[in-house]
Symmetry: C2
Subunit: 84 residues, 2 copies
């Protein structure tokens, strides 16, 4: 079994209104040292092991569904979990 | 300067309709080995260095604004970036 962590973030060139809103909220709560906030998605997938290449599988899922590759970047970490 | 990565996830006991929806979409695209999907938020904060304890500062921001601690868990990683 695999535990996969997927991180999806807006590309640098894309405006992040959500991040801007959180930053101004933090400033209004006097956290003035916060100079930038970028907000994205974090996904935890549990995938059963079979003969497929797990890396290619996760990359394909990101490209086809999990990330909008026009405006988003993605990265992922794969951890194999050995069930006792 | 600090680069802080914040991961916010729904507690295990909380239903994750978004994750369920993504899982069924993946299944309809024949990714049947995916047995669970949990979706959360991923934030990247840039924080200027001053005399405050950065760990306490980030924890406080998570508790007060970034995470809804009634239904969400949070974790974070702090990396100091030395500007040349």
């Amino acid at each position: 079994m695999y535990k996969v962590k997927v991180y999806i973030t807006l590309r640098e060139s894309v405006l992040d209104p959500q991040g801007t809103a959180v930053k101004s909220s933090l400033h209004s709560m006097s956290y003035d040292t916060v100079s930038d906030v970028r907000i994205g998605k974090y996904m935890e997938l549990t995938i059963e092991k079979n003969n497929q290449d797990i890396d290619a599988l996760v990359k394909e899922m990101c490209e086809r569904l999990l990330a909008n590759t026009v405006i988003e970047d993605y990265s992922y970490e794969i951890e194999e979990v050995v069930s006792l």
